[in-house]
């Protein structure tokens, strides 16, 4: 069930340069099914900004009905969001979309989790749940620069973690895909979230593996009604068949849609 709910801000912290971690409390936590689902957040009352903002759920605490989001302060919407204080209420629609399928990684297998920038957050809950069911997790996370790195130690506590930065200020310099190749990492399943070129490269490189990609697209409704977020399907790349990132995704099996 999707709820529209006024959620109370429990805490908000700037955890890296312009990266905010916000925990809210709400009944919708009960309806979250898989890691990688997202919520649609109204950053402020009134008409400016008018539309909601899609933000991934980065972790949940079912016992407290709390969910955590991690977002980068980008433009007006996330800017206003970053000013929210403990105790304030935020209008949130969620949970939305279909997340990463956990069943695809079996107990004893190894899952590679690849994240780029603000694509890293949903991988955290995914990693926790995979580990809990006995899947070995390896993380390869890419960031712009040293100051924008977050959650590195949290990921390390769950499994092997490799960091790359675009400018080389921390970890390996360059792309996450280079890191995976150079380290000759071995794995059974890949879960990835990040910029489209990164997702494309992963899809290309691991055609023989089970790969799941979380896509990003500009959204209107977030629930499948407005057709803002559609993409072509791979079996009919120029035709009329389509998937909606908001309600069919945001996570797709590699090869399912044209990215």
């Amino acid at each position: 069930m999707i709820r529209k709910e006024l959620c109370e801000v429990i805490r908000q912290t700037e955890i890296a340069d312009s990266i905010f971690e916000m925990t809210v409390k709400g009944e919708m936590v009960k309806d979250i099914r898989t890691p990688g689902q997202f919520v649609h957040v109204k950053a402020a009352g009134g008409y400016d900004p008018l539309l909601r903002r899609p933000i991934s759920i980065s972790s949940i605490d079912r016992s407290k009905n709390e969910l955590t989001m991690i977002y980068r302060k980008e433009g007006r919407g996330t800017g206003l969001l970053s000013e929210k204080k403990t105790g304030e209420a935020i209008d949130i629609l969620g949970p939305l979309g279909n997340g990463f399928p956990l069943d695809e990684a079996k107990t004893g297998e190894t899952a590679l989790l690849v994240g780029g920038g603000i694509g890293v957050p949903p991988l955290y809950e995914l990693s926790r749940q995979l580990k809990a069911k006995g899947v070995k997790v390896i993380h390869v996370l890419g960031f712009q620069t040293k100051d924008s790195i977050f959650y590195d130690s949290k990921f390390e506590s769950l499994g092997e973690t490799y960091i790359a930065t675009a400018d080389g200020s921390y970890g390996a310099m360059g792309f996450v895909t280079d890191v995976i190749r150079e380290l000759k990492l071995q794995f059974d399943v890949v879960y990835a979230c990040g910029p489209t070129p990164m997702l494309r490269a992963i899809e290309q490189n691991y055609q023989d593996k089970k790969v799941f990609l979380s896509l990003e697209e500009r959204m209107g409704c977030g629930i499948g009604a407005c057709f803002a977020c559609v993409c072509h399907t791979t079996d009919d790349p120029k035709g009329f068949s389509y998937k909606k990132v908001c309600s069919d995704g945001p996570v797709f099996r590699a090869g399912e849609v044209v990215i």
């Binding site: 697209e217 803002a228 009329f240």
Partner: protein, 313 residues
């Protein structure tokens, strides 16, 4: 007593609130949130004769108090809508107004013939005003004689009354309205979106893949009100008004301007419950304004010899 029911050609509405075309799909998504029976009517997403994929993404961009869209009439085609979407909607006791679009006259006529067969389609909304399709289209919405001719042709085949959706992207909206009235239209719906644009600060290029898109939301409300005010005084046709409606107060304002019913578009994206919320709030707003029945509000802005609204009530 029902203080909200309205009768219009083909439409026996329990209340004058309906979701606007393209902002509610075919109803399925919103049926997760509430029983669609509460709605006055449903304006479904545009149907074209053949399926369309629409424009590349990004298809939406935000702007102050509004949004731009360039969806490009994505839809599964008239036959699929007739056989898959309309039967699904038939479980609800709600009249459907089917929005139809095309690139040439024959497309419109054939689409109208097909879609108007469905028992739950009580009216057609002839979309001659979509700003987001490249071929044909635009002439139907901007050249009065072309619009008149198209209206006449569609009327000939349609089994149900035909409302024509006017574009605000014209220099003389009254002339357009009168032309489609001459062509035999049963009513008007207005306004469609205003053509606009946003540019990306980093790249300098348009945000929308289509470059331009249709502006909707609260930002266009004054334009819609002005156009309804002008057109309602010059034609006899009933008007279903739309453009930035978010609240019960907005609805009454549209009635004052000259509308007999209203549609809510963009607001559904912000609040999926916006239509039922407005319907629920209207009676107490009418009480506050000292109005018995909502129909009394239509055209109050320009009608003579009207009792002023009792502001002390």
């Amino acid at each position: 007593m029902n203080r909200l029911n309205i009768n219009l050609p083909g439409l026996d509405l329990k209340n004058p609130i309906m979701p606007a075309s393209g902002c509610f799909g075919f109803g399925r998504e919103y049926s997760q949130f509430y029983n669609l029976d509460v709605l006055g009517a449903i304006m479904i997403k545009a149907a074209t004769l053949e399926p369309r994929f629409g424009n590349p993404t990004p298809r939406v961009a935000e702007t102050s108090a509004g949004m731009l869209n360039a969806i490009g009439l994505q839809n599964p085609g008239a036959h699929k809508i007739l056989t898959e979407e309309l039967p699904w909607l038939d479980q609800y006791d709600v009249p459907v107004i089917a929005n139809i679009a095309g690139s040439q006259e024959d497309d419109y006529v054939e689409t109208a013939r097909i879609i108007s067969q469905a028992a739950n389609v009580h009216a057609l909304e002839l979309n001659i005003s979509c700003p987001n399709v490249k071929t044909g289209g635009i002439a139907f919405g901007t050249i009065p004689d072309v619009a008149k001719q198209l209206t006449r042709k569609v009327k000939e085949v349609s089994a149900v009354p035909v409302y024509v959706k006017l574009s605000p992207n014209v220099s003389n909206i009254i002339e357009m309205a009168k032309s489609v009235e001459d062509g035999g239209a049963d009513g008007l719906t207005m306004i469609n979106t205003l053509i606009g644009m946003r540019l990306d600060l980093k790249t300098g290029k348009p945000i929308l893949a289509n470059s331009t898109g249709g502006l909707s939301g609260p930002a266009i409300k004054p334009v819609a009100l002005r156009m309804i005010y002008e057109v309602s005084q010059k034609t006899k046709l009933p008007i279903i008004g739309m453009g930035g409606i978010q609240s019960a107060e907005d609805v009454v304002e549209f009635f004052y301007a000259g509308a007999s019913a209203v549609a809510v578009g963009t607001a559904n994206f912000v609040d999926p419950f916006v239509c039922p919320t407005i319907i629920e709030k209207l009676p107490s707003l009418l009480d506050k304004l000292g109005i018995e029945h909502i129909s009394e509000c239509t055209g109050r802005s320009w009608k003579r010899n009207e009792q002023p609204v009792n502001h002390r009530a």
